[in-house]
Amino acid sequence: MAMQSQTRVASGLSSRWTPYLAGVGIGVLSWIVFVVVANPIGITTSIGQIAGGVMSPIIGPEAVSTNAYWKTNVMKLDYGTLFLIGTFFGALASSLISRTFAIETIPSVWLERFGPSKAKRYTAAIVGGALAMYGARMAGGCTSGNGISQGLQLAVVGWTFLMVMFTSGLITAAIMFRTRQT
């Protein structure tokens, strides 16, 4: 196993790169996007716009277009939305080519702690996804836009986000995965 994973790291198409190499790749990608399109990597702005598009048939296009947030964050195939679509297909291509694509309903770490109930896992995913998105919009960005893109520029907003997010995550994980006293 160890031999296999070491030889795999050497090839660009291998299933798993050392995380440092992936980090260098994201760093170099940041150089390119700062120069070529002057548009730092980010994810949640476009998800906020898409939410407006999804709500349009439910609450009516007028209610969306007069909303204080969606008024200036209109759903369209702009740079950010196309970047998001690209992210999806990049991960898809990578997982297919490396033959690591696998349907996963309950990850092993969750299974060990909370058991095989899909309802439990899906409920946590929905609540967690909603909190992450709400928090990211309030903070001005997520791990990508705020943590990496603002963090690499040494912006106060980026480092404040990183420190608070990490602390909050540590506390949440400590509560969720505490060992039960019997």
Binding site: R16, I26, S30, A93, L152
Partner: protein, 181 residues
């Protein structure tokens, strides 16, 4: 020539996004187990990817800025919003097991629960849009420092901070790699 705008920039958006998704998957941060175990200090993959990206990206972007090829894109530091938002985000990230970017990428690797969580992300975005007027007036306006950087705030050279980050990350990861043996 740069920056490129217009339709060609939209094609580039797909290519750059593709590269980002590829890198996230190769870095294994599309895995629930990897992300959640970072917050339990059982796996340091997330910090390795992020810190390397920040240091390599940051030093490169600073050089590109100094030679006039790039501009910085600093966002407003609305401190109350950033602190409350990041605190909510941290809870959400551990419950979901992904952040928004890695969640989208994880759906593409076959994670059904990441897809279910995307519904939650849309709900969160809708709730934010509905509460935006209130949040803007009562939270985003509090302790707003503007587009400020740590070097400006502390009056030090950015190179000092990148140096400190590099040494700090180097020591941390040297220790982490040593634990594995």
């Amino acid at each position: 020539m740069f920056p490129i705008k217009g339709e060609f920039a939209l094609i580039l958006a797909v290519i750059f996004g593709f590269a980002f998704g590829w890198l996230l998957q190769r870095g294994k941060v599309t895995s629930y187990n990897v992300i959640v175990n970072q917050f339990r200090f059982r796996d340091f993959t997330v910090l390795k990817v992020m810190m390397t990206a920040i240091i390599v990206g940051g030093i490169g972007v600073l050089i590109l800025k100094d030679v006039g090829l790039a501009k910085l894109h600093i966002r407003d530091a609305n401190m109350l919003g950033t602190i409350v938002g990041a605190a909510i985000f941290g809870v959400g990230m551990v419950l979901y097991g992904y952040c928004p970017g890695t969640g989208v990428a994880a759906v593409a690797t076959g994670s059904v629960h990441a897809l279910v969580g995307m519904v939650g992300m849309l709900i969160g975005a809708v709730l934010y849009a509905f509460s935006f007027s209130w949040v803007k007036a009562n939270i985003l306006s509090v302790w707003a420092l503007g587009k400020v950087t740590l070097p400006q705030l502390w009056g030090v050279s950015p190179w000092v901070l990148y140096g400190a980050l590099t040494v700090g990350a180097g020591l941390l990861f040297y220790w982490v790699e040593k634990q594995k043996k």
